[in-house]
Symmetry: C2
Subunit: 548 residues, 2 copies
């Protein structure tokens, strides 16, 4: 039996596009004499479809798409993910299901048992856990179909009480199939390999794993679909961050590569994966929204420079425009370094002074501000003027502003709401400042894409004379570690202090993280590359008093 | 047996405050010779504590608070909600629990079985459903303790397969207690009464219901704690939107009012409930964040006028400042009507022209915009200048900007990101424009608090000459109904058309709702008064193609 693994870049809610993609791949697999083609979890709707799953009309479109694909399943069988109705009169109205299609119709529906409801996942919001499932019998082969999280009930305190592979009878199966919607984050690759390995080891069966590829707003799916034989050896590895389809052969209980199969090279480093995830994240955000052009405010600092490089790679330099907006506090090198960068990249730029507008604000506010001293207000104003000029460009020319905030800033609130926090998409909002540096060095590993001066000068917001980030913040080397202990690890203050950090500093940083939730509530969506990104996967109250 | 129902305004994460409140009420109930005092669901942590429930240190503080309260439970028993550890080695690490405290220690823990995970609720994100529960035996009375949603498994397609009251053995109990965290929305009161009635009718037992009161960011808890006897009659009714404690007596199987008990008057209308919810929502937002002063941009229109009235009632007029920011397109009545309003209210104001700043932006953008015509860009700029001036005031004087967007605008994207969409809290973002009018008429029911001209003139953004909302939008009477069918009811386009609406209009409105998700992603938190508010309870993808 020849089996195709189809790794596709779906578009949430775009039933016509998703169905066409699936039909095209079914036809291609059939032309290659495949017996079965496997698509990803909730491929029909895209993932995550979120509350669209509560719209009956949306579900009808999904049902119709399944029927269309079923009709094309003649001479080839199809496994594809879509919602299924719970008709049993109790529990959530839907299952997250895998459809087995053959001979022109739906032959069997397998429901997901373990519904991830943590971090960015909300599946129990929509879906009822499977009541019971059965093996699929196809051409003498017994297939245990599972859906993503169904394999993830591992570790010393398992998240779930049920074991879907045991329940479906994987011990009696010939082959395990897992269809997934598993987004990229650093470390996810290794964990996924461990989980797939556990399933193979436990049941001694070969396993096919088919994932999504492509970005849906903040989530970037890396693909990396794979097949393992019963010994756990990888016989097929699809690439990361690219669409692909390839084949395996299952004969006499043995899963093997088909003649033409290539093992895609595995990324050599986390920083390369992050780079590729962000480029795909930008590209898909624009493409799927129907936009082409980006605008970026270039400060002369490392964050905006990095975002410009990534945008030029994602969209083409001809689609990236930059504004350099010096003020009275800007250093010469801010403009010079930025010009050197955009010339390297072939990106267009304009230099626009914010002085005239700033003076007009000062004059307009003078009566109200009489008797007060300049403070953070005037710093924020400069940042906001830049935001407004950039937004005016997006309105006039139909582009999207890319936000350049990093995770360290967002964590401690070192940014101006409606100023440098503006934008349609936050590109590096899930990278700590030290990771921003690392990614820049990765980009410069062979040639000086980014002028070295941008990488070496001390970070500064340049909103008052001789300002440096280090005036208000600890060194990023220390700050980022502290933030990681609190945000990713959720460590207690005492535990962090016990690692050797200064008590006042620990308290200050934790307090800053907590009181700035209100700012993060209004940030653009952030491309997620860590296992705890700000945004949909981290939900904290604004009005609260805890460590603040 | 004398039982106290304690309806308290908790503060999320503020263990010291919450514990003190509980201890004070325990002491007061003891002084009144109560045998038992009942507090709300997750009273110790506040509700919703959201991802703080994933912080071990946060949970330790909760555990410590429970121990402190247990020690005070001498001569009186206490039922109070807090997280409990799941020590069984599988499933989520916590239960949402009711602690029964007596004789100075924790006597029994009852876990919640049905975990709401829809709309604004995320409980399965944190909690494992109860494995099993037992009746509490206290002074010869068998109490079936349940937690909020545990009673809500009703209707023709029940959300859950389990029945907590049946499992715990409510048929053998003498008394049912339900501790809740049930936020206000229009219609919730009636549904709650139905659900409580069903529990009493099914088991023929008296029931005590204790809810939170007070706002936690967007959720406003209305209190309205109550007690019903076995015949379903209300014997105690605590007030809406106010803290309170009162008593019932349970003797020989009969629940009755205690001598001193009063039935709080029930609100006479939904519009009164909405009014009271918004006033409390504003007040608690400021109080719990430690702020006193609000600022509002007064346009001369009905939305900002209404927010100013509500803010003056919530914070006191002396804590509300307004800016009137006319442009070249503002009509005279915009300023005059606003001045009349603030004089009625005793609120301070300044008139600040945006002309100088607007001209400076025009001049600064002239080179880039050469050859283009004025369009939405210039309209947005005016709105954004006003936002920036208001934000400058908040920075300089330590106030919070109140946002004045309504739900109709937010739905169709008729507002400017970083302009009139700025603010720390959206006060009327869950009121359709027609509801805004209704609330204004309610406010003016006895005296002209709001100048009638504000209520009668046609809505306009005044961003270009003679602009009216009706230039771009259908009449609000029609628009709001359409929006309700789509947002609250999630009706299909064909179903809405079948109600008699124009096809092109239906398609346009649905498309506008969907493509403006990106704007709503960056709005301030919105006080929730409907059962489908924009914000945490409505989660839709930004990058999607569905009805757009």
């Amino acid at each position: 039996m020849k089996i195709a693994l189809a790794q596709i870049n779906y578009h949430t809610g775009n039933f016509e596009y998703n169905t066409q993609q699936i039909l095209t791949h079914v036809a291609a697999a059939k032309a290659e004499h495949a017996d079965l083609v496997v698509f990803a979890e909730l491929a029909i709707t895209g993932y995550p479809a979120r509350d669209f799953l509560e719209f009956e009309h949306f579900l009808q479109l999904s049902d119709e798409a399944i029927q269309r694909i079923a009709q094309a399943a003649e001479g080839i069988a199809v496994i594809v993910g879509a919602p299924a109705r719970n008709l049993q009169g109790e529990g959530k109205p839907l299952f997250n299901a895998a459809y087995f299609l053959a001979e022109g119709k739906v032959q069997q529906v397998v429901a997901k048992t373990l519904l991830p409801t943590y971090d960015v996942f909300d599946e129990y919001r929509y879906f009822e856990p499977a009541f019971s499932n059965k093996l699929v019998h196809f051409k003498g082969v017994k297939i245990a179909i599972s859906i993503c999280e169904d394999l993830w009930n591992v570790g010393h305190h398992a998240k779930y009480k049920r074991n879907p592979l045991a329940e479906i009878g994987a011990a009696a199966a010939d082959l395990i199939v897992n269809i997934a919607a598993s987004p990229f984050s650093v470390g996810q690759e290794a964990e996924r390999a461990y989980v797939l390995g556990e399933a193979v080891n436990t049941y001694g069966k070969p396993l096919l794993y088919v994932n999504h590829v492509g970005a849906q707003t903040e989530l970037v799916f890396d693909g990396a679909s794979t097949a393992r034989n019963a010994a756990g050896e990888i016989v097929l590895q699809l690439p990361t961050f690219e669409t692909a389809m390839d084949y395996v052969v299952f004969e006499a209980g043995v899963l093997a590569a088909s003649a033409a199969t290539n093992l895609a090279p595995v990324a050599s480093s986390n920083i390369q994966l992050i780079h590729d995830a962000l480029v795909l994240g930008i590209r898909d955000y624009f493409r799927k929204l129907g936009f082409k052009k980006a605008i970026i405010g270039l400060s002369g600092g490392i964050d905006s420079a990095l975002v410009t490089v990534l945008a030029a790679r994602a969209l083409g330099p001809e689609n990236v425009h930059t504004l350099l907006m010096p003020s009275r506090y800007s250093s010469d090198h801010s403009v010079n370094d930025s010009v050197a960068l955009v010339n390297n990249l072939g990106v267009s730029y304009e230099i626009v002074s914010i002085e005239k507008v700033f003076s007009a604000y000062e004059e307009t506010l003078r009566p109200a501000f009489a008797g007060t001293q300049p403070d953070i207000t005037e710093e924020n104003l400069q940042s906001r003027i830049r935001g407004m000029l950039l937004m005016a460009h997006t309105n006039k020319f139909g582009s999207i502003l890319l936000n350049t905030s990093n995770k360290s800033e967002l964590a401690v609130g070192y940014g101006t709401l409606y100023g440098d926090m503006c934008g349609g998409l936050s590109v590096i909002g899930d990278l700590y400042k030290t990771e921003v540096f690392a990614l820049c060095h990765y980009i410069n590993r062979e040639a000086e894409v980014m002028p070295s001066n941008i990488l070496t000068k001390p970070p500064s917001a340049e909103l008052r004379p001789d300002q440096k980030d280090s005036d208000s913040l600890p060194d990023y080397e220390i700050l980022d570690k502290l933030l990681f202990h609190y945000i990713e690890e959720r460590q207690a203050p005492a535990a962090i202090r016990a690692m050797g950090y200064d008590e006042a500093l620990v308290n200050k940083v934790m307090r800053l993280v907590n009181i700035n939730e209100y700012k993060r509530h209004q940030t653009p969506p952030i491309l997620r590359v860590s296992n705890k990104a700000f945004g949909m996967g981290r939900r904290l109250p604004i009005v609260a008093r805890y460590l603040n």
